[in-house]
């Protein structure tokens, strides 16, 4: 890991966003990085949206907040334009869903996370793990092996298999998106 990763995930309470961010943090930590992970809640722990983030870096992390992340994943909306200004100039934006007909900027990726969890994993609750897969697949911020190990550690013992599947499907979707982007770039 050569750069400082600042990854933010936006979801609604109960979507497992916090766990996803912890999994990313643990994976990065296992690979020898410094990490800081945290989250914001709505009023006390009630309703509304929640955001979680991870900072990972080889050097020590003092300032524990993210101002403009270099990776932003949005579970709750497909309106990517609203979020473009929130990310770092070289940042990547990952939206949950299918892109519209219009041309999408190069740094924006659409991954149908909920759909994958719903239709392919057949367990909507695993959306957050699909999400981990997508981030890892798109960014390579941690190795897939490290990420998978972290996933297995953070899900209930009896749900390891299904979550492994969710992760792999997330990674695969990411790879496909990358390939498509590359294709469209070269075309």
């Amino acid at each position: 890991m050569s750069k400082r990763w600042e990854v933010r995930l936006i979801g609604t309470g109960g979507q497992g966003i916090v766990t996803a961010s912890i999994i990313l943090a643990v994976a990065a930590l296992r690979e020898g990085n410094n990490v800081v992970q945290s989250q914001n809640y709505g009023p006390e722990v009630r309703g509304g949206y929640s955001t979680a983030y991870v900072i990972a870096s080889e050097s020590s992390i003092l300032y524990p907040k993210i101002d403009r992340p270099n990776v932003l994943l949005v579970m709750t909306s497909t309106d990517y334009e609203k979020y473009l200004r929130d990310i770092d100039d070289n940042g990547m934006l990952i939206m949950n869903g299918e892109p519209g007909p219009e041309k999408v900027p190069d740094n924006v990726y659409f991954i149908p996370i909920t759909n994958i969890a719903h239709d392919e994993v057949e367990r909507p609750i695993t959306a957050n793990i699909v999400c981990v897969g997508a981030v890892v697949g798109l960014t390579g911020m941690v190795s897939e092996a490290a990420a998978l190990a972290a996933v297995e550690e953070h899900v209930p013992a009896k749900a390891v298999k299904i979550n492994r599947r969710a992760f792999i499907l997330g990674v695969r979707a990411a790879r496909e998106a990358l390939a498509k982007r590359e294709a469209s770039a070269t075309s």
Binding site: I22, N34, S38, E44, Y63, P64
Partner: protein, 375 residues
């Protein structure tokens, strides 16, 4: 404990307390400290300890004092509203000299305020919250690793000096998880309160050389009296002015007497700095970051961070500030520690306050901007 782990500030407090021998926790849930209660509830019963959820914070504070009377190391954790309610009993622990530790994970106040937003608004309250003059030790860690170590140290200091010790966290540190890899120096040593000397008569509030009387745990054969009334060295109430003066000076002054052991201050590139930032807690993370990047740019900026915030490190700040062009005190409040800094530097160096009260952490950039303005 050598393996690196991901640990939250709140969990780190619990681990540190357990390592220092804490076996009793009493508390009442409150954001953003609740994870501390949750963790103690899981950890204590399997270690011969007791986790107790009390009816409120007043009772929680009372229960940990009671537990401490039997010789059990005891902790409570809370945040602003609950901390306000604990003040009377904190004063009790101070004057009756009962070891105990209170973790205050600061949130935005006053009143219910912004329960999930960070703040440093309780800085002065940790010093002056209870009525009457009283001794206090307050320690403010800034990383999870330090939260572990300093909570352990808080337990030890409370045992050694028979004083309530406050661990002053904030929402940011409490809720973030970060890489923690314990080194040897982090290992918490268990220190136990001094017991009665079996060879001489036990005087519960004896004047000893170190200013700290021996403590006889309840149920160990010493039948004596503890009270929140002003008492003489036998532990019984007195209003004899000479006795009152003597004991209350001892109780208050024991902190100063042991300042060297109690105080901990971090100095970051202070010596050759022109500009000095004085910060504590999470804000010091931003300050430290600002110092780091400014130094990379060749700017002569340093930081002093009181780890032990009370007793306030008067001398450390005075010395560090001497000859500097300016001192900057960033805080997530309207300017509390800055008053202490002003008092201490006594006009020798200009002091600038940098305050944020919108519920967000001061950024390194804001500090850099101010520093550039000053230069």
């Amino acid at each position: 404990m050598a393996e690196a782990k991901l640990l939250s500030g709140n969990d780190a407090c619990v681990q540190g307390a357990l390592a220092a021998g804490v076996r009793f926790f009493a508390g009442y849930p409150i954001t953003p400290s609740t994870e501390i209660a949750n963790a103690f509830a899981r950890e204590l019963p399997g270690r011969g300890g007791i986790f107790m959820q009390m009816e409120d914070e007043i009772a929680s504070m009372g229960a940990i004092i009671g537990a401490s009377c039997t010789g059990t190391k005891a902790v409570t954790a809370t945040s602003g509203p609950g901390f306000s309610l604990m003040q009377e009993n904190i004063g009790y622990a101070a004057v009756a000299e009962i070891p105990c530790v209170i973790i205050n994970v600061m949130r935005y106040g006053p009143s219910t305020g912004l329960p999930t937003s960070p703040s440093q608004g309780d800085f002065m309250q940790t010093r002056w919250g209870p009525h009457g003059d009283h001794p206090v030790i307050v320690i403010a860690p800034y990383t999870a690793r330090e939260a572990y170590r300093e909570t352990g140290r808080a337990v030890n200091l409370s045992e050694r000096y028979r004083v309530p010790v406050i661990v002053l966290m904030d929402e940011i540190l409490g809720h973030l998880r970060e890489r923690v890899e314990f080194r040897d120096e982090d290992l918490v040593q268990e220190i136990n309160r001094k017991g009665p000397d079996p060879d001489s008569t036990f005087l519960p509030y004896e004047y000893t050389e170190d200013g700290v009387p021996p403590f006889a745990n309840f149920g160990t054969g010493y039948r004596y009296h503890i009270t929140g009334l002003i008492h003489d060295e036998t532990g019984f109430p007195t209003n004899n002015p000479v006795e009152v003066d003597r004991i209350m000076r001892r109780v208050n002054e024991k902190i100063e007497l042991h300042r060297r052991d109690i105080a901990r201050t971090q100095f970051v590139e202070v010596d050759d700095a022109d500009i000095l930032v004085v910060a504590f807690g999470s804000v010091a993370r931003s300050a430290h970051e600002a110092v780091r990047t400014l130094r990379q740019e060749g700017k002569a900026v340093g930081m002093v961070r009181p780890v032990t915030v009370w007793p306030f490190p008067d001398e450390d700040i005075r010395k560090a500030a001497a000859g500097k062009k300016a001192v900057i005190v960033p805080e997530m409040n309207l300017g509390q520690m800055v008053r202490e800094v002003e008092r201490v530097v006594a006009g020798t160096v200009p002091v600038h306050a940098l305050n944020r009260i919108d519920g967000l952490l001061i950024t390194p950039q804001e500090m850099r901007d101010l520093i550039e303005d000053i230069q």
